[in-house]
């Protein structure tokens, strides 16, 4: 039986790790390679690095981080942020990432999903989507809209329709981030996660809002998520991955128990 995955997410800016509250006021919490090593030892099932620099110069620094992480940890990790072309994806994969996460780049050019899946296999193409609760309307029948730029820019796309489209294009996984919940530590958005995860045939990683172990139980059971992204709650030392896993196991959620 497949275990539910616990995935720490590391925001990387200029080669350093940061975590923002709703994407503003980022504060530096450390060296990404050291943090990756730490979470690997602690039993993280996978890692995600999100490049929030998104400049040409920052990309070089990021690739160096990816190479150093790949030499240190032997679990899968994904890299996202500002990946717009097949060459961007290739550079990150060659540096040692297992997966690439496309987000805004895929909204501008959905073809990148299909091209990436063809060139590298669908298993390594993750669609990252930032989603805002907007209420049901003709344009957003699911009540959720895809947004970019940390929620500052609306796309007019319905979140459910976009998830299905991305799956059809060849995405191998969806990382679903609720902008309403992100950084609040008040819990994942369960209804949204359940809506998307039960509508597609590919794994869904829930993101945004994790604050307590109970929140992970909720999203991995009621929310039907296949994996849960965690950030603040583990970065600031309040919660250890190993304790989180023990808690989940105690609540009947199947997790990888030894590593």
């Amino acid at each position: 039986m497949l275990s539910k995955r616990i995935i720490p997410c590391l925001d990387v800016h200029a080669g350093r790790t940061t975590k923002g509250v709703k994407f503003v006021n980022n504060i530096d919490v450390g060296d990404p390679v050291e943090m990756a090593r730490h979470y690997y030892e602690e039993g993280a099932d996978e890692l995600v690095f999100y490049d929030i620099t998104a400049s040409a110069e920052g990309r070089g620094i990021l690739l160096d981080v990816v190479r150093r992480v790949a030499a240190e940890i032997f679990i899968p990790f994904a890299v996202g942020g500002g990946l717009n072309s097949l060459d961007d994806l290739r550079a990150v994969l060659l540096a040692g990432a297992e997966k690439v996460s496309v987000n805004t780049g895929a909204i501008r050019n959905p073809g990148i999903i299909a091209e990436g899946a063809r060139a590298f296999g669908r298993q390594c193409v993750v669609l990252g989507m930032d989603v805002l609760r907007v209420g049901v309307s003709a344009g957003t029948p699911s009540g959720y809209e895809v947004v970019t730029h940390g929620g500052r820019r609306r796309t007019g796309r319905d979140a459910l329709a976009w998830a299905r489209e991305a799956e059809a294009l060849g995405a191998g996984e969806i990382c679903l981030n609720s902008i309403d919940a992100d950084g609040t530590r008040g819990g994942y958005e369960i209804a949204l996660t359940r809506l998307i995860s039960t509508a597609v045939g590919i794994p869904v990683i829930a993101s945004g809002g994790a604050g307590t172990p109970e929140h992970l139980v909720e999203v991995l059971t009621e929310g039907c998520a296949d994996a849960a992204l965690v950030a603040s709650m583990v970065h600031f030392g309040g919660c250890r991955i190993r304790d989180l896993k023990a808690f989940l196991a105690g609540r009947g959620v199947k997790v990888r128990a030894q590593w």
């Binding site: 275990s3 030499a71 899968p76 060659l94 390594c124 039960t198 045939g201 794994p203």
Partner: protein, 211 residues
């Protein structure tokens, strides 16, 4: 020399890096060359992607013959993921004719598979950590704790003859997570991405002297 076979099937650097971490950087080489495979004392045949294209690449690079020869010569040979699937006779994926080193074919997880008691169909691909049960005694699983989980990403799995199955996992159904015969072994999961138990398996492979 350990040859890590490069047939343009995805990210092979991860296997190289795992061997680097095991202190085997000097002896392991990623190669596309039939001559290197002929000269190697052991072979790792990794890869991700689709069976049809992978077999086309193997043929274009002139590697199918040298790989069969390495197995016939008794060299320790490890297939990983698509490299495991290609050891079989054929794959449902792209109706590909494969290397035929193991009897049996590669099939897709049936749509609508469910875990016992779950109302929802399982997702395909299987992506993530699953417990592998190793069978019998084999030098490769020495020191790998019982109940260890390994990282899988796949939509297809091989159906070996029962006497070749060396490891199983359950995803809706029980399937062959590994097959072995003499000097030849293959795993559906990725030992190079499976943390400490995976590294142990790779280290054991690199030290393995099949009788």
């Amino acid at each position: 020399m350990i040859a890590i076979v490069d047939y343009r099937a995805g990210n092979l650097t991860s296997v190289q890096r795992a061997l680097d971490a095991l202190g085997l950087a000097e002896s392991a080489h990623v190669t596309q060359s039939p001559a290197d495979i002929a000269a190697a004392d052991r072979i790792i045949f990794p890869g991700v992607g689709a069976a049809g294209e992978a077999m086309d690449n193997l043929r274009d690079l002139g590697l199918a013959g040298p790989l069969r020869q390495a197995v016939a010569d008794g060299k320790p040979f490890l297939g990983i993921c698509i490299g495991y699937q290609l050891l079989f006779e054929r794959s449902e994926e792209d109706s590909a004719e494969c290397l035929g080193l193991f009897a049996g074919r590669v099939v897709r997880f049936a749509a609508g598979l469910r875990e016992a008691g779950s109302p929802r169909p399982l997702k395909i691909p299987q992506m993530g950590w699953n417990e592998v049960r190793f069978r019998g005694h084999h030098p490769l699983w020495e020191g790998v704790p019982a109940g260890s989980e390994f990282y899988f990403v796949h939509s297809y799995y091989p159906e070996p003859s029962p006497d070749r199955v060396c490891a199983t996992a359950v995803y809706g159904i029980e399937f062959a997570a590994g097959a072995a015969r003499n000097n030849l072994v293959g795993f559906q999961f990725h030992p190079e991405k499976s943390g400490r138990p995976g590294l142990r398996l790779l280290a054991n492979f690199c030290a393995w002297r099949p009788c």
